[in-house]
Symmetry: C2
Subunit: 371 residues, 2 copies
């Protein structure tokens, strides 16, 4: 960790040491409000994914605007949020291994905890752990609706697993996890609608098959920032897990949109300084791939259309500048990260700005909570 | 940060919570010794790059085996190592901005500090800051020997800048930084030899041109794990900055080698657990792209030739398993990261193992030191 911070509340924007992860509070607050507005009048609730921000200050604001709780992806991540006072956390993952199960059960003593299963052995282990710790948990059957990652097949396989959970008194069969990850970044609105339409069919037949066995499917949860309005309007999903909407990133920014899509603003930036200006067409900034994750593409330069972030090394970013006078040594730029989640995970705090002043530093308390 | 650690000294390898960054101490110690041996009898010294490990425990061991000090890439990274007692740090970067310069000068009060320049304005700012703080620094002119990143052109431009540094009493003109990054991962030994051969020619002519002005070029520093034996034998370079040799990664592992190349072992691994086994040909592990940086390629599965790490999501890794019986829920694997530097930067500690026991946890104290 850096022995000093990039800024302090009250500092001017121009005084922020770089590279720093900057949150534009006005844009961020509009994003949170836009999401809340998009769910008004529907019976669908929001459980935003906190893997994206890892920041209790943000979870608290999401819940204040109506979210029922949060999702986490890791047990240790959930522990950070429970310690910060969040009372309802769904770990949208399978939890395997005695150590992790012990920590999960300890959390279930202090908060409402949910977890996923996609194999009978996980149910058996959860049951034993819950019994040993004297706790109960919400258990969701994960159904593979197109992501080809985790999850049982829709239909019979899901029914079998739901029956197994429902037969375990220490476990509450809470419903189905039906997240279609790859659909989020299909570029055209038509492709995304089609993918979620196909997923909804699979979810409906699975739900109906489970209910035909006399087991209520109370909750069907899933969706992300790229498609959630389709899940909202599906008549099947009743909980949404979008997370990136709070920040947005370049990968989501590259999606095309159609009528009825709910679109958000870039609120998260990597502030960076030109530290080398070796040739007329090349500038080098101090934000490389340890400052902006490049897994989903390079960052882009915010509101400077002539400038192209062309190459990332560990601690260097190469900016191509067709206009030799466009950038000088010491100039600062704002970059839009390619992918917000792993970029946030590189920093210890968000430098929250309003206009040209730093308003707050928010600790990214679950940064590096991998376990 | 995770509220609990992945392991404690004395634990068995099999008890490590996952994902965890595991250092095989035997392989690591052999790598350090092999590097020291490769420099015996030469006049070339080692200043390993600490951007790769960010771990004072490792820098201390490198210095005990003969390294003269370390390189860092960031001022805040250097500050972590100086605080840990490292007395000689070269920041292999341009340092721009009043805040960074102030921190750099404070370090120069406590340790021997070097820094790079590639522009007259940087020299002017360093001079003023050094004067204001009453310190002196080693200043190296960075020469672009093929990386097309930072650095002045070889020859006249470098001479001008060296003269400017040498004329500044607060600055010690220490020599030339001549690192050829892209050459490190050229796949064939012939391509790498050719690239460094061309760099050496440029370095020699630049050195001779500066010395023709009556200025001694005491130190020529550069090189990485993929090429350092060429720089060692060049008759021009007299300091090497390799860092990855301590760990190795898959990207370096993909280099082909010829006679005389110095080759290292994989010592750094991401330990991971199978958490989902949804189909006969697919397993999902708990190490995704927040556990192993994918900027230089996906991780590979260590010593399990039938298994292919095929896809990384934030917290999931998809392993393709042609043999359905090859992996069961709860099995652990060791992954070789694609790129060691940004992978290390994701963790708070190295779980150091010897054989099947955890021997120590080493804090990655400069993790996230971006400023």
């Amino acid at each position: 960790m850096s022995p000093w911070k990039a800024a302090q509340p009250g500092d001017w924007l121009d005084d922020i040491d770089t590279p720093a992860l900057v949150l534009d509070l006005d844009a961020f607050e509009r994003n949170l409000q836009r999401m809340a507005d998009s769910l008004k009048g529907s019976q669908v609730r929001l459980r935003p994914h906190a893997k994206c921000h890892k920041t209790p200050e943000i979870a608290i604001r999401q819940i204040a605007l109506g979210a029922v709780g949060i999702c986490c992806q890791k047990v240790s991540e959930a522990a950070v949020f429970v310690a910060a006072g969040i009372e309802d956390v769904l770990v949208t993952n399978q939890v395997v291994g005695a150590t992790k199960l012990r920590h999960l059960m300890e959390l279930a003593r202090r908060a409402r905890i949910g977890v996923l299963v996609d194999h009978p052995l996980q149910v058996q282990a959860l049951k034993a752990a819950a019994q040993a710790h004297g706790v109960t948990l919400d258990v969701y059957v994960e159904v593979d609706v197109g992501a080809r990652r985790c999850g049982v097949a829709p239909g019979a396989e899901a029914v079998q697993l739901a029956l197994l959970v429902a037969a375990s008194p220490q476990l509450r069969f809470a419903g189905l996890q039906c997240y279609h990850g790859p659909a989020q970044h299909l570029r055209t609105p038509g492709e995304r609608a089609l993918a979620i339409g196909a997923a909804v069919q699979q979810v409906r037949l699975t739900r109906d098959a489970i209910e035909a066995c006399g087991i209520a499917v109370v909750r069907i949860t899933g969706a992300g920032t790229g498609t959630f309005w389709h899940e909202r309007d599906s008549g099947v999903y009743n909980e949404l897990q979008a997370g990136s909407y709070a920040f947005m990133d370049q990968d989501y920014g590259n999606n095309q949109h159609g009528d009825g899509d709910v679109v958000f603003e870039h609120a998260l930036f990597v502030r960076t300084t030109v530290m080398s200006r070796p040739t007329a067409d090349r500038a080098v900034v101090d934000a490389g791939l340890k400052a902006s994750s490049v897994d989903s593409g390079l960052p882009t330069v915010w509101q400077r259309p002539g400038l192209c972030y062309a190459k990332a090394a560990d601690e260097h970013g190469v900016i191509m500048t067709p206009d030799a006078a466009a950038l000088a040594l010491g100039d600062t730029l704002m970059l839009v990260p390619g992918h917000c989640d792993p970029t946030v995970n590189l920093y210890d705090e968000l430098v929250c700005v309003r206009g040209d002043r730093v308003e707050a530093l928010w600790p990214i308390a679950a940064r590096g909570a991998l376990l």
